[in-house]
Subunit: 442 residues, 2 copies
């Protein structure tokens, strides 16, 4: 038996607002930050982690991504969960991750702060993800592969089906997973050979000049990306000019998605997107409030055939369920750290499969690419069973801070092979950007 | 000019779990708590506050209600807002409370933590409410009266119409308010004479014996309450037995509402409520996840003519908008501290008026009765223009800790006349129940 001996949290902030990387219509000056969690056990590091991990023992790493102020609040929410973990025996927690997840979600006093939304829910997600990191390291497998080798029954046991009863039952989920079983081995081989498709948002930030936009579009195509994405929503004439530039550089038929980052009212979204329709956007992302299921459905009807995408701010599986039930989205964008961790994202993948909607995860920020690729790769191997019409967002930023940085080449995420969930940040980066102690953003 | 000189927060917890007061199907052992905020100015206390307030100067008091663990996280969220307030001139903040509200909601870095939901949003609500407390104290009026004497234009200036564009425009809101203008003075007189109807939840907690249930039903009727409410959802046979007892004691036709506190799946809710239909419940409250707009609409269709009520956990105006658009609720239950404060609750009242749905606020906990009565009284005088079919929840618990406790007699909330927003807790109570320093709940 091993035991959890420490629950360490760190407030990490990168001063990204100084360069306007990541600027959009709603977030003009983000300082990409991580409320960072390290769950420490008394077990030795498995030899598969290599010599550099010896000093870390067997530890689980995860984080909640924020954009600066308030990262301390997120750290406080993590700290509120320490009492559920410290001193506990490790094996019972890891052996039934479904029960572990339900225990955390089910703390009735903490639940009042959401329920299942916002700071407290994201903190639960980080704990769940850190435990998966430990479980994957102990198994000597990357998370995507660990999940892909579970039986269908083991996978559905991870899911909290509460509040999904009118959309996805345990039996339906089992049916979806069993249908994907026969091809798992072959798809794993394909994934290892060719990776998972990526698209890039790097050209499209609002803070960039037209020249930089055009140059980055050319580079994206040269780098092999199959889609780019542009931020829109601050000024219609600017959007028209920038989309025209991008369309000219990329050529007819090349997928160009647009992203309004929740900027619009429902009628405004419909009018604005229709004014951009001549540029044939691949999708319109986050046209309005992420809480507005009915609004997204109204927009979807009003802008067809342009597809609506959302999800990076969808607070939990109940919102995804409704977006799918209402026909509000044609592309579902999960985020690795917004909801209650790996377990809830498996529920989200199963919902998408049930409704036949492709999942194209949100990424970027700091570490989101490293984290979410595991979920898409699992989706390909064991849930959806296809990469068709699917791709993971990619932004080439801050990867150098991670122990296992993404390997994106030729427009594809190449599958990580190192054991773990991929969210572990290098100790020297954690130390350098710890807030209040260094040159991190004020 | 006055200035905000301090932003004091306190973690206050009452050990209510020891008595099982407040136990329901989802919250078996709440410790009623308050993440308490005091905004201190350098202005003297107005003489209308009386001698006891002299040492407090002109301060604004508000809180977020929680049920125990996590109250420290809520305090951290309050503290994250101090930088927006401390050192600021008071008058510009109070003179344009619409702009002040939008500034707080609009902090793009903090917004990422929600947006507009959970711990961070409730913290913003507490700041807004504390500023309203200052404004009302300075005006020498109770909040309900201060709001009721604003012009219709001043009221709509308080509202953030963002994301309401497809349901309620500024012009429609103005139209609703102007229609209610002629009767304002008369309704204020009526309110002062007869108060606002109350119903009581005291008989219905799950932890009580059948004998206590019957006794408390008799007492509720003797006390003049026009409705009682019973918690349900843990066990159907228990619910049938308890509803039968309540119906026998209260008699045919007496309104008995039932409250499942989010316990059910959608199909389960429909079956369970229909199994209780013979007892003619006045409404079914919180049948499922508070995030599930479409689920509530499905339940509403499945249990008619029993009415569906929800809202105490509705995170913001966007959820209320959709509940109304979908025909999911026949009774709307605002909460004084769940959303972004007085301003967002004015948006919620206007939405309810637009859709013709009565508002029957959630209260209880600690201080929720004291706070929310101001909103219903304002609703009667200046928005809905009627008390018909409306009542405020009442639980006779913990009122003694407030400077201006509720005055509930004859089944009615009698209008508070003391200046302020009603959320100020006595200094000795704050000191006694400060967490970690006293005998408050562990």
């Amino acid at each position: 038996m091993s035991r959890i001996v420490a629950f360490e949290t760190t407030d990490i902030r990168f001063p990204t607002s100084l360069s306007l990387d990541g600027s959009d219509a709603m977030n003009p000056d983000p300082d990409y930050s991580a409320a960072y969690l390290r769950i420490v056990t008394d077990a030795p590091a498995p030899s598969s982690l290599g010599a550099s991990a010896a000093s870390d023992g067997l530890s689980g790493h995860a984080f909640v991504f924020t954009i600066g102020r308030g990262n301390d609040v997120q750290v406080a929410a993590l700290d509120a969960l320490a009492g559920h973990l410290v001193g506990r025996e490790l094996e019972p927690l890891l052996d039934d991750m479904g029960a572990t997840n339900r225990e955390l979600i089910g703390d009735s006093q903490l639940r009042w702060l959401g329920p299942e939304k916002g700071v407290m829910h994201m903190a639960i997600g980080a704990v769940v993800n850190a435990l998966w990191d430990i479980k994957a390291k102990r198994a000597g497998l990357p998370l995507w592969q660990l999940l892909s080798r579970l039986t269908s029954e083991e996978i559905v046991d991870l899911v909290d089906f509460r509040y999904l009863g009118n959309a996805l039952t345990r039996e339906e989920a089992l049916h979806i997973l069993r249908a994907a079983e026969p091809g798992r081995a072959q798809r794993e081989t394909e994934l290892l050979a060719t990776g998972y498709p990526a698209y890039t948002t790097s050209p499209g930030w609002l803070g960039y000049s037209d020249e930089k936009l055009a140059r980055l579009c050319r580079e994206a195509i040269a780098d092999g990306f199959g889609q780019i994405k542009l931020k829109v929503g601050a000024d219609l004439q600017d959007d028209i000019r920038r989309l025209r530039i991008a369309r000219e550089v990329c050529g007819d038929g090349f997928p160009i998605a647009i992203d309004a980052n929740q900027r619009w009212e429902v009628p405004e979204a419909i009018a604005w997107v229709n004014a951009l329709a001549e540029f044939e956007p691949a999708w319109i992302e986050e046209p309005t409030s992420p809480d507005d299921v009915l609004g997204h459905a109204e927009i979807a009807r009003g802008v067809a055939p342009v597809r609506v995408a959302t999800g990076e701010h969808a607070q939990n599986r109940v919102i995804f369920k409704q977006l799918l039930q209402a026909g509000a989205i044609s592309v579902m964008q999960i985020d690795a750290v917004r909801v209650g961790g790996v377990n809830e994202n498996i529920a989200n993948l199963l919902l998408a499969a049930k409704f036949g909607v492709p999942v194209c995860p949100h990424a970027g920020g700091v570490g989101l690419c490293e984290a979410v690729q595991h979920l898409s790769m699992f989706d390909f191997v064991a849930v959806a069973g296809t990469r068709e019409g699917r791709m993971i967002e990619y932004v080439d930023h801050l990867h150098e801070h991670f122990v296992v940085p993404t390997d994106v080449r030729g427009g594809a995420y190449h599958a990580p092979l190192a054991p773990g969930a991929g969210m572990e940040m290098k100790p020297e980066s954690r130390a350098q950007y710890e807030y209040g102690t260094t040159d991190a953003a004020a």
